[in-house]
């Protein structure tokens, strides 16, 4: 096997871990404020944990990317990041469609109720 040469410097490793930890605290802060549903937060907490793992054990990721046939580990990272982002965006569109339906129903019901009340006057 070709010699793997990790290029993550200790400085960058610390930076990545700090960012990940800050993200986790911010997410927990938002949940406690009641501004983020736990359901939606799990994904972001998972992302932060994965980031910590990758920063701590870069060799592990280098190995996997090589096994999958990527010439450079960075390509694997970009590839998986983009796929992951697309999945998130798609899920957001699903949520938007769902919300749109709910808003439509609410608007219709409200309009009909208002008409009914006005007719009774």
């Amino acid at each position: 096997m070709e010699q793997l040469t990790p290029i993550i410097t200790p400085k960058f490793k610390i930076l990545a871990i700090v960012i990940a930890l800050a993200t986790i605290s911010y997410i927990i802060f938002k949940i406690r404020q009641g501004r983020l549903h736990i359901k939606h937060s799990l994904l972001w907490l998972a992302v932060s944990c994965v980031m910590i793992v990758l920063a701590t054990y870069p060799k592990f990721f280098f190995y996997i990317s090589q096994q999958l046939g990527f010439i450079l580990p960075i390509n694997a990272l970009t590839f998986f990041s983009i796929i992951f982002l697309l999945i998130i965006i798609f899920n957001l569109t699903l949520t938007i469609s769902n919300l749109q339906n709910k808003i439509k129903k609410l608007t219709q019901e409200l309009a009909i109720l208002k008409t009914k009340i006005n007719n009774q006057k």
Partner: protein
């Protein structure tokens, strides 16, 4: 018989009065006719003008687009137990003189929904919309004819009369934007009988159409995809 005329209107202050007056001029024997203007969050005086003419006005607090607005009318018709619901656009394109021609086949139980068509009678000289739009309508009509194994000539007509079965279906399930072509597939899937009736349509009485050139391309693609998805998804 209780009949509800559903008039979806978005910024139609120029034409809504004319449309309401025209509808009120129509008399159908043994029928109580109510008019419900669905004001789709207009920014102009549509709602006030309609209220001044003593008709039911349903004000939507969000702009839902034509599909959501028309559906509100069907929900209202369903909840208030109307026997027939008729859609007439608030822009004056649909001539209420044809109300009787649309209602007759429903009252005599010849079909579940009667749809006003500009093209079924080849000698119909009145407004038939622009050349490109006609091609679009022709393509949609052919696709729909094929899918529903029935001759459909005017795929985009929103001038229609529906019986109770259709009212219940549309109150529950009505497409969002550009709904007319899709409804043919939904009706067909629910084994409801569609009948096209020859009508003449006018150019818009006032105001501006909500569909422009770029929108029409989007319109065709969106509608065709929607039609095929509806066709293959079952009931």
């Amino acid at each position: 018989m209780k009949i509800l005329i559903i008039v979806p209107a978005y910024n139609e202050e120029a034409s809504i009065e004319y449309v309401i007056k025209q509808i009120k001029n129509q008399k159908i024997e043994n029928c109580q006719i109510d008019i419900a203007v669905i004001n789709d969050c207009s920014q102009d005086k549509t709602s006030e003008i309609a209220k001044a003419h003593n008709v039911i006005v349903i004000d939507l607090i969000n702009n839902l687009g034509i599909g959501g607005a028309v559906q509100t009318g069907y929900i209202y018709a369903f909840e208030n137990n109307y026997d027939i619901a008729v859609q007439i656009d608030g822009d004056g394109q649909h001539n209420p003189e044809y109300l009787k021609s649309l209602l007759d086949p429903i009252i005599s139980n010849n079909c579940d929904i009667a749809i006003g068509s500009r093209f079924i009678n080849k000698n119909n000289p009145a407004y038939r919309s622009s050349f490109l739009r006609r091609i679009g309508i022709k393509i949609l009509a052919n696709v729909l004819s094929l899918l529903t194994s029935q001759k459909i000539t005017d795929a985009t007509s929103g001038f229609r009369a529906a019986n109770k079965k259709v009212i219940r279906l549309f109150a529950e399930n009505y497409p969002d934007d550009y709904p007319e072509p899709e409804t043919f597939v939904i009706l067909y899937k629910n084994n409801l009988k569609i009948l096209e009736v020859s009508v003449k349509m006018n150019e818009r009485y006032g105001g501006k159409s909500s569909i422009n050139a770029i929108d029409s391309i989007y319109y065709m693609i969106k509608v065709l995809i929607a039609i095929f998805i509806d066709f293959f998804k079952g009931k």
